[in-house]
């Protein structure tokens, strides 16, 4: 037990140590050393995770570690503790695994940046908070990590702080996340007052043993928690920060805004599956929001010209699909897609980073093209990942996406249709990206063309590993024979009776999905390869494309409704209410002064006036006495 505690602490604190070293000594250590330390710190966590993971696959016993009392509230005792069970270890595996690869990649990618040690310290801090989020044994420890990763996201989006647009994007991400966080807090308050605990294990027993559960209140809690998930995992209506977050360096987009942090909402819902299972209405809301988000984001992705923006909307869309699965209580399906998505989306982002790096910062696909020859590794790895995300058979995404759509089909045909359309669109915009970037002639400057080259080994190695995982990752949950479902089974109260039996319906659905994906690819091929179309420059975009290109003007609408109105209110309060109140208080003083001043006039020493007042008073008293009788 003692050893487990120590190892768990190593797992959490190794990245924190890396952070401290880089913060205090990073500059003097030099760029390469600081990068190596940052990477090594995460590799240590990965190694410990592997150890725990191999343990749990054998013992199937969760490990609970309690450190000390943290916050005392009358009916709640919240301690700082960790829970290493199937779910957290699975998450840790890809957080630290992909994290290590991305750290490695960053050594090369960020090497020209003067603040590279800062970058690694933030990245380490992020991994620390992400591990805390995943490993916490109660909701409040999760919340430390939850807000902590939000902070790191803020720091890394605004990493190039000289540009105020980037700072705006960072601030927006933090504030929109905090809207969700308030929901999460309120959800915690309700759960805490209902069950007197925020500890997962205790909560689960309490709910299982409860009679006369107040289901409406529990549903309210679930809804509030889901609002939190919407913020972190970029779902409607809180999704607009994620595309803007692409202002950060590309490794950040891969790690935080694709593979790990944005999946925190799915993690939390899966973690609290026993709460959500009792709130079917909320589950419906989750499924609908997930489906709609996946479609809306996919349509916006169709016309974007910034390579990272395409991937960002694709991420929002894929997260939507995961929530679609969560809404049907198919937690293991959602988790499966989280994992495959982490592989191929991290690969895609890192690949796009390799491209951007090769073109010295160019992100506009209209100025790319023909990079296939100069950057073969980048091309092939991205191609594999694109095939995976498009659901082409036997790549990882095929299995996970297929399971989501199949689950949807069994519960709700309309949502199945929405999800399927989103998937077809995904195949289209991904291959649009591929054709525009890697095929035909190069459309950039001669200068760029001259310097075109494949990135170095530190960049291509992670790409190759991730491409490998994107290819074979689906093996962890083959239809009918799912290692993943067995592994996760202890988490869920539902008996695994819902195992899909592969029948005619399933094969038909699979056929439709594959055909849809291929159709999307084909259209992209015709449009961007055969016909050699290149998206118009910004001013020539019109009609529906313009609406999509401007993201349905949602940012502008939010701006008017929320940002401007609160600012108008602020000015009104400042200029009118504040000055008004102040004048009122001064006015009280003036009135007192005035009374004194007028009163002074009476005391003017004139005996006549005094006598007059005296008689007047006497009359008043006498008449009062008479009238009173």
């Amino acid at each position: 037990m003692e050893m487990n505690t120590n190892l768990a602490l190593v797992l959490v604190l190794a990245p924190f140590l890396g952070f401290l070293i880089n913060v205090f000594f990073g500059k003097s250590l030099g760029k390469t050393v600081s990068g190596i330390i940052g990477t090594a710190a995460v590799v240590v966590s990965f190694a410990v995770t592997l150890f725990f993971f191999s343990e749990i696959t054998q013992t199937k016993q969760a490990i609970q570690v309690t450190l000390f009392d943290w916050i005392q509230i009358s009916n709640l005792h919240i301690n700082l503790g960790f829970l290493l069970d199937q779910l957290s270890l699975l998450w840790l595996l890809f957080v630290t695994g992909i994290g290590s690869l991305i750290h490695l990649y960053s050594i090369s990618y960020m090497h020209d940046d003067e603040n590279m040690h800062k970058f690694f310290s933030y990245l380490n801090l992020f991994v620390f908070f992400m591990i805390t989020l995943v490993m916490g044994s109660n909701l409040l420890v999760l919340f430390i990590g939850w807000e902590g990763v939000g902070l790191c996201s803020y720091l890394l989006i605004g990493f190039w702080y000289k540009n105020q647009d980037y700072n705006d994007a960072a601030k927006k991400a933090f504030i929109m996340n905090r809207i969700g966080d308030l929901g999460l807090l309120i959800g915690m308050f309700i759960l805490g007052s209902m069950f007197s605990t925020l500890d997962y294990a205790t909560l689960k027993t309490a709910i299982a043993g409860a009679t006369n559960l107040n289901i409406p209140l529990l549903s309210l809690a679930a809804l509030c928690l889901f609002i939190g998930a919407c913020g972190k995992s970029a779902q409607i209506p809180l999704y607009t920060w994620l595309p803007d977050a692409m202002a950060g360096p590309t490794p950040v987009s891969a790690l935080i805004h694709a593979a790990t942090m944005v999946t925190a909402g799915i993690f939390m819902v899966t973690r609290l599956n026993f709460v959500f299972d009792l709130a079917p209405d909320v589950q419906t809301v989750i499924a609908v929001i997930g489906a709609v988000t996946s479609l809306v984001a996919a349509t916006i992705g169709l016309v974007q010209t910034d390579i990272k923006k395409v991937l960002a909307y694709s991420t929002v869309s894929q997260l939507g699909l995961m929530f679609l699965a969560l809404g049907f209580g198919a937690y293991e399906v959602a988790v499966f897609h989280v994992i495959t998505h982490a592989f191929f989306k991290a690969c895609l982002f890192l690949g796009s980073g390799s491209v951007i790096h090769g073109l010295h910062g160019e992100q506009d696909m209209r100025k790319m093209g023909g990079l296939r020859k100069a950057m073969p590794v980048t091309f092939w790895t991205m191609l594999i990942s694109s095939l995976a995300i498009s659901g082409v058979p036997f790549f990882s995404g095929f299995f996970s996406k297929d399971e989501i759509l199949m689950t949807a089909f069994h519960h709700s045909i309309p949502l199945y249709v929405v999800g399927s359309i989103a998937s077809i669109l995904t195949a289209f915009y991904m291959f649009r990206l591929m054709f525009l970037t890697f095929f035909k002639e190069f459309r950039g400057t001669e200068e760029q063309k001259y310097h075109l080259h494949e990135s170095d080994g530190l960049i291509t190695f992670p790409l190759m590993i991730l491409a490998l995982l994107a290819t074979f990752g689906g093996l962890i949950s083959l239809p009918g024979n799912s290692w993943l479902n067995d592994y996760l089974a202890p988490l869920f109260t539902k008996v695994a009776g819902e195992e899909h039996h592969l029948g005619t319906t399933e094969y038909t659905l699979m056929g439709i999905a594959v055909a849809g994906g291929l159709l999307g690819i084909l259209i992209a091929y015709i449009k961007y390869f055969k016909q050699d179309n290149v998206p118009e420059s910004d001013e020539n975009i019109t009609g529906l494309t313009k609406v999509l290109y401007n993201k349905y003007y949602v940012d502008e609408i939010y701006d008017v409704i929320f940002v401007r109105s609160v600012n108008v209110l602020s000015r009104f309060f400042r200029d009118y209410i504040e000055t008004g109140l102040s004048a009122f208080v001064f006015g009280l003083g003036k009135v007192t002064n005035e009374i004194g001043f007028q009163g002074k006039k009476l005391q003017n020493g004139s005996i006549g006036l005094y006598l007059f007042a005296f008689v007047l008073g006497l009359c008043a008293i006498i008449s009062y006495i008479f009238l009173a009788q």
Binding site: F68, S74, G148, K162, F586
Partner: protein, 479 residues
């Protein structure tokens, strides 16, 4: 050993500082403030060992007024806040030159003396004397050593003085009335009174007026922003870090237990008033042009939430409020100090004229950012512990209170990050900004260390204050 020792040290310190002259004044003041801190820590260990460090001495026989100091856990926590912040505040002024420094530093110690007395006093009239006494030094500090146009400053400071004094007079009337009933000013005698609901209401309102102006609770806050802006930063720190906690503390110590029926009857109104302050303060803070004024309104928002916590009359509400008082005391002193550090270099506090500091001074930026994050109650800072507890207690009364009060985490992040961006980030400013000096760094590091340590381990403070809060709650719930 008894607690009056701290008062004596501070008072002697004030005189000693004045008599050593301008040159040594700051160092002597620092020495005495540190002595008071050290002594308080010793007292704390005596208290934790179970020793009684309170005292009652007869003082004036007719009317019966006692020199009674009650050092329970709650009072000790506030005492520690005062004596821990005082040396930080004094040390933070070391980069500045003051005319007539001996008077300046003597007044700081004298103010610490009066505020400590207010927290410890267990006799109504003694308490009232300390309460009013603390107003005098801050009046002079703000008036003489303040900044900006002298005439405007005089206007703001005199308004503050008269306003708070006027509010306190109602409290004095309440005390006199209570004396008529109880025949004593001793707090335990006042706790024992059985006042009718009507009497309680009037007493409650009289106290409220005094405290609402001091804390301040909207709409009684109009003195605050201008005084914070015009006072020298040391004065602003004393006001925001410690003095406004006198009001909040007094709510818990005097107002609620003496008039519990009124407190229960009108609880929702006063909670709502506190929460209104949270939202109003946050929104007004959004469009402030002056850094100190922005921080003043942020303070208004935070104390609104604390006040709402106290009026819940639950252990969680009171405990969260006290934790948050301490956390806010530290963070607000840190933030005002950061504003001062910027002012020393750029000689302006206008937000629109700042920016581009990050590029020149990464160390200062990191420290400032941590303070900003603590102020918006990021988990793992002390402020989160307090804010979470208060919001939880509000949710137990009515979940909408928690939702509305909780907007502070959104709006707070909005105005603070916006301020941070405009003040610190962006491309280089034309003026040079030297990174923090060692002296400046020490104060900031101490504050940050306190905020992070208690963010993870608030237990010592929780254990210190909980028994006395339970006692007070017993008095409140005696009927």
């Amino acid at each position: 050993m008894n607690v009056s020792l701290i008062l004596i040290i501070l008072l002697i310190g004030a005189f000693a500082t004045y008599f050593v002259g301008d040159k040594l004044a700051s160092k002597v003041a620092l020495f005495f403030s540190l002595a008071a801190l050290g002594c308080s820590l010793v007292l704390l260990s005596h208290f934790n060992a179970g020793e009684n460090i309170s005292l009652i001495n007869a003082w004036i026989t007719q009317p019966k007024i006692s020199f009674a100091l009650n050092a329970d856990g709650l009072a000790i926590a506030m005492l520690l806040l005062t004596v821990a912040l005082t040396p930080i505040i004094i040390f933070s002024s070391f980069g500045n030159e003051y005319k007539n420094a001996k008077g300046f530093y003597a007044l700081i110690l004298f103010m610490a003396f009066a505020m400590t007395g207010t927290f410890l006093a267990a006799d109504g009239l003694l308490y009232y004397i300390f309460w009013e006494l603390s107003l005098i030094p801050i009046y002079f500090i703000a008036l003489i050593w303040g900044n900006g146009d002298a005439e405007e400053r005089r206007k703001a400071v005199v308004k503050f003085f008269i306003y708070t004094l006027a509010g306190s007079l109602f409290m004095l009337v309440a005390f006199i009335y209570l004396y008529q009933k109880a025949g004593s000013f001793l707090i335990e005698d006042l706790y024992k009174l059985n006042l009718s609901p009507t009497e309680q209401l009037w007493i409650f309102l009289a106290f409220f007026l005094a405290y609402a102006i001091k804390i301040p609770i909207i709409p009684f806050h109009t003195w605050q922003a201008n005084v914070y802006q015009k006072a020298p930063t040391v004065g602003t720190m004393l006001l925001s870090g410690i003095m406004l906690k006198m009001g909040l503390y007094s709510v818990i110590r005097w107002q609620l237990p003496i008039a519990p029926l009124a407190a229960k009857e009108y609880m929702n109104i006063f909670i709502a008033l506190g929460i209104a302050g949270v939202i109003y303060g946050s929104i007004v803070a959004l469009r402030q042009k002056d850094l100190k004024k922005l921080l003043a309104y942020s303070s208004l928002a935070h104390v609104g939430l604390i006040a709402a916590g106290t009026y819940t009359l639950t252990l969680d509400g009171l405990r969260g409020a006290v934790l948050q008082m301490i956390a806010h005391g530290f963070v607000v002193v840190g933030l005002f100090y950061a504003a001062e550090i910027i002012f020393r270099r750029f000689e302006t506090r206008k937000i629109s004229e700042l920016g581009g500091i990050r590029i020149q001074s990464p160390k200062f930026t990191s420290m400032f950012l941590i303070l900003v994050l603590a102020s918006v109650a990021l988990p793992s800072t002390f402020n989160f512990v307090g804010e979470f507890t208060v919001l939880y207690s509000l949710s137990q009364i009515n979940v909408w209170f928690a939702v509305l009060g909780g907007t502070t985490i959104i709006l707070g992040a909005y105005y603070m990050l916006k301020m941070f961006q405009n003040v610190m980030l962006g491309d280089a400013n034309s003026k040079t900004f030297a990174d923090v000096s060692v002296n400046e760094g020490i104060s900031l590091v101490v504050i940050i260390a306190v905020l992070i340590f208690f963010g993870f381990y608030p237990k010592p403070i929780t254990d210190l204050i909980t028994p006395s809060l339970e006692t007070i709650l017993n008095v409140i719930n005696k009927n």
